[in-house]
Symmetry: C2
Subunit: 202 residues, 2 copies
Amino acid sequence: MSTTNSLTVEELGSAAQRDRRKRILDATIALATQGGFDAVQMRAVAEQADVALGTLYRYFPSKIHLLVSALGREFERAETTLRDKPIPGDTASDRVIYVLRKTTRGLQGDPHLTEALTRAFMFADASVQSEIHTVGMLLTRMLTRAMHPEQEHTEVTEDDVAIARVIGDVWLSALVGWVTGRTSATETAAHMEKAVHLLLRD
Amino acid sequence: MSTTNSLTVEELGSAAQRDRRKRILDATIALATQGGFDAVQMRAVAEQADVALGTLYRYFPSKIHLLVSALGREFERAETTLRDKPIPGDTASDRVIYVLRKTTRGLQGDPHLTEALTRAFMFADASVQSEIHTVGMLLTRMLTRAMHPEQEHTEVTEDDVAIARVIGDVWLSALVGWVTGRTSATETAAHMEKAVHLLLRD
DNA sequence: CGCGAAACTGGAACGTGTTCCTATTATGGA
DNA sequence: TCCATAATAGGAACACGTTCCAGTTTCGCG
């Protein structure tokens, strides 16, 4: 059980290894924040993380795995932050839009980082499936929670999940458009909100 | 008026140049059909098109421009094919799904080609804006036409356009999922149809 | 503690996108 | 027809992701 996957935290025995992994992801985020996708160069990551290039590749088998893993960690952080606070808004769409705005604004505050992570996500192939699945689940959970603020797991219908997925798709497309400079932040936000209203209509 | 953009057909004076451009795009499609994104190697394209590498770069400033331009040409072909025939289906969603199915099936018949073109589309940045805009317009037009079969330009409301864009987003995400091996063709189709029903609800 | 295995280092090497340069060829106007 | 200019050919060179290898260090187990 190894080969093409990134080493997860769990399967890293020693504290030194967990620390290496953390240093690598920190370096990735730092470089991505500075200069985006292109600035995340494997040699640079290795150097900044104080790790040999070969070791970097032992932990993350490709630049894409590396970036998607970093994205996952950032997402978890965001979801944790959001988890406890109640979500304001009287209607489902208000709450969903609140979550989207908040998340999007967070991302747009770090344009380079967002560009790097979005690019990686879009370029990932099947070998990054598990990392991507993690991100997808987090997003879906965030959105369905916004639709049904009180009851955690009850009341979430198949339609709700489908709607969350569609919103996730739109969000991704909008993000890609924004990241690649095809749409402005304002347009991005407007388009997303329009989509939410079309889907939840209230 | 030149620099970072691909040379379009219009701004190519001589027939020899138009022919070169065509040979290049043909070679691109051929290689992409065979082996996907990775098989579209600039040296290989140049050789197969019987053109020097420098010339290839004069016509298309990057691999991404090249592939997105090829995508545009294929899309135009598809849209032309669809334009004349009436779209079957009693409801808007039936017709939209028909169009999506038809287009998607066409793409899935050429997995490698689709992979190459989708990857390029996702990776494109602002410098490919015009090429991408072309594709977006074609898709939106195809979808709004499916929603309103008779009247061409009348009756298309802002909501219709917004819905078409959302469907386009979902379509793109689904395509990316399929192309990258994250979802099967069946799942892809099911998800798209679910989205259409959620949006058009009939 | 001592040993074998696994992990890590440092760096060379390869493939492919991209750039650049020089020599040659096509083009269009006087 | 002839010339200036642009376009093309051919290929070297560079950058960065990725692979690979030889030597060294760390780790876990008896």
